[in-house]
């Protein structure tokens, strides 16, 4: 194959790296030549994709039916017509609209707060020597290791003590806090890759450390900030457990909580299709975010899980 000449060289580390890189660029553009066993792989992958897609399509289809149609027709029979009014009903009558706005408010605020606070905290840890850098980093990373089961009861009591129970502000602060460990971890990693001379030349030019951070370091963190922002947003948008524990008033619930409530009601009640419209309304934004930013998400995820 194409790299057979390279493999004959003695396996010096540098040469191997170069070979891998060259090889990878070949692989990235070209498709493998077809072989018979690929048929089995395609079959396998198609089955897999089918199981994944059919669940989505079922929900989408159900969200366009009437309640009566939903109960009486076969689950895979197509809805007779695009009944978008289901979405309007769900938005207003089943208060999906309120949940949606709460979700937007909570996840946007928590994400911005979590990323901003993490960026400020990561800077001294990564770039200023103050004796206990690693200790401080360890304290933050503890959050990645301690299971939520140990802390959720005292957390509930603490949030109660500071008077933020059943409030969106409390939820925002808690979400931001629980985003911090991964954010700080990823951003410290990014900042350590920047050259030392940046700060030195900025200092020579008379910029103070705060100014250096805001004007020089921060703009260079683009990809890192993008990764942590997207991951935090997805986490906060989807978060269920802390919401369940900390929020009790229906008017303050986020989408996952609201849907859980609707789901409980649907056990006994009748309004199935509102639930399915709600599921669509919750899922489509994150699927869109994912579709456009797949690379950032998988990169942040690999960094967090393997090295963390």
């Amino acid at each position: 194959m194409s790299s057979s000449t390279e493999t004959r060289n003695p396996p010096v580390a540098a040469a191997r790296g170069a070979a891998t890189r060259r090889r990878r660029s070949v692989r990235a553009t070209g498709r493998a030549p077809f072989r018979t066993y690929h048929l089995a792989l395609y079959l396998f992958l198609v089955c897999f994709a089918f199981s994944s897609l059919s669940a989505f399509l079922w929900v989408f289809n159900a969200s366009l039916k009437t309640n009566r149609e939903f109960l009486t027709t076969a689950p895979w029979s197509l809805a007779d017509g695009w009944r978008w009014s289901n979405y309007v009903t769900a938005w207003t009558n089943a208060s999906i609209g309120d949940f949606f706005l709460n979700s937007v408010l909570v996840s946007v605020c928590a994400t911005v707060l979590g990323v901003a606070v993490a960026a400020f905290a990561a800077y001294p840890i990564a770039r200023v020597e103050f004796k206990v850098n690693n200790l401080v980093l360890m304290v933050f990373l503890l959050g990645l290791m301690v299971p939520w089961m140990v802390t959720f009861i005292p957390l509930y009591m603490t949030v109660d003590d500071v008077g933020l129970l059943d409030s969106r502000l409390g939820l925002i602060l808690v979400y931001a806090t629980y985003n911090l460990p991964l954010n700080i971890f990823v951003l410290v990693g990014f900042m350590k890759t920047l050259p030392r001379e940046l700060e030195e030349s900025a200092a020579v030019d008379g910029a103070g450390p705060t100014r250096t951070f805001l004007k020089i370091i921060l703009p260079l963190l683009g990809p890192g900030l993008a990764s942590v922002t997207i991951l935090s947003f997805l986490n906060n948008w989807n978060e269920f457990f802390y919401g369940l524990v900390l929020i009790h008033t229906p008017g303050k619930m986020t989408l996952p909580l609201g849907l859980f409530q609707l789901g409980q009601a649907a056990d006994y009640g009748t309004n199935w299709v509102a639930l399915f419209s709600g599921i669509m309304i919750t899922s489509v934004p994150v699927l869109l975010v994912f579709a456009f930013m797949q690379r950032h998400i998988t990169r942040g995820l690999t960094a967090g899980a393997i090295k963390g």
Binding site: A55, P124, V146, T158, T177, L180, L244, P256, T282
Partner: protein, 292 residues
């Protein structure tokens, strides 16, 4: 001078993060240890009980059942998760056509809220309006249809399947990264020596991925022993406690019975069980670093 002026920013830059972490993470963490030794009466009074809560746990049949179900969920889930995840990652490594489409579809459920996925599958499993049973019946396989979540024998596997259905994309991505990092020379050498793709996979790739698999298995144990949302939404621990895991039992103990101390003791105990299990997994699968 530059260094000193830099050092001035350390405290103010770290302060917001330290305040948040201290208040909502470190303080609760310390408090968890204290609470687990306290008894909460229904009126909200607390009294120190020493190890009483922990002693009670050992004889509590609902706790041992929950612990057993937690292990079972972890084990069944691992069996359902790893073989297909490795297969998909390997298939995607073959650079087939439509690779990015498959990657998208496999990963897509992972970005959905667990609440959404759990609700979705709760209805997919529904015996009359769901997707599975009507499909089986119309295919003439009505004998296989059952109330998946209402039957104590199938409820836990059904939940495990849903957990895997949502999460598998993440494991595929992590495994794919492992496949990409395999040294090309070794694989090429294998091909030159006439090894087929299956032999390559079995004799070269899998042994080289062993360390990654160990890490992923530990991650899975840690994650699945804490699963809460799926169980709470799909069955609430029912039918007859057959799906009750430690987290749902804890949640009920804390918020339905207001017994914070007992619930905290359950959490602390599970933490140690989990630590022990990860140490065992690591010990069993650990071996000398392979040279290549």
């Amino acid at each position: 001078m530059f260094r000193r002026s830099q050092r001035r920013i350390v405290i103010p830059f770290l302060l917001p993060a330290l305040i948040l972490t201290g208040l909502f993470f470190l303080y609760p963490l310390v408090r968890a240890g204290i609470i687990s030794f306290e008894h909460f009466s229904r009126t909200g009074r607390t009294s120190f009980t020493g190890g009483e809560q922990y002693r009670k746990l050992v004889d509590d049949p609902s706790y041992t059942r929950a612990l057993k179900n937690t292990f079972l969920l972890t084990f069944i889930g691992a069996c359902m998760l790893f073989p297909p995840a490795v297969a998909v990652a390997w298939a995607l490594h073959q650079k087939l056509y439509g690779e990015s489409f498959f990657r998208f579809v496999v990963f897509a459920p992972a970005v959905l809220s667990t609440a959404v996925v759990a609700l979705m599958w709760k209805f997919i499993y529904h015996p009359t309006i769901g997707l599975i049973d009507p499909a089986l019946r119309s295919a003439g396989l009505g004998a296989l249809a059952r109330t998946w979540l209402g039957d104590p024998t199938t409820a836990l596997p059904a939940i495990a399947f849903t957990v895997v259905w949502q999460g598998i994309g993440i494991w595929v991505v992590l495994l794919s990264a492992g496949f990409e990092r395999l040294p090309v020379e070794v694989l090429e050498a294998g091909r030159v020596d006439g090894a087929g793709e299956w032999a390559l996979f079995r004799r070269i790739m899998l042994p080289m991925l062993r360390d990654l698999m160990r890490i992923l298995l530990v991650l899975w144990v840690v994650q699945s022993m804490q699963s809460f949302a799926f169980v709470q939404i799909m069955t609430r621990g029912g039918p007859f406690g057959s799906t009750d895991v430690v987290s749902t039992l804890m949640y009920r103990t804390a918020f339905d019975q207001a017994d914070f101390g007992y619930a905290a003791a359950m959490g602390v105990t599970l933490l140690f069980v989990m630590l022990a299990l990860t140490v065992i997994v690591n010990k069993v699968l650990k071996r000398d670093v392979i040279q290549y």
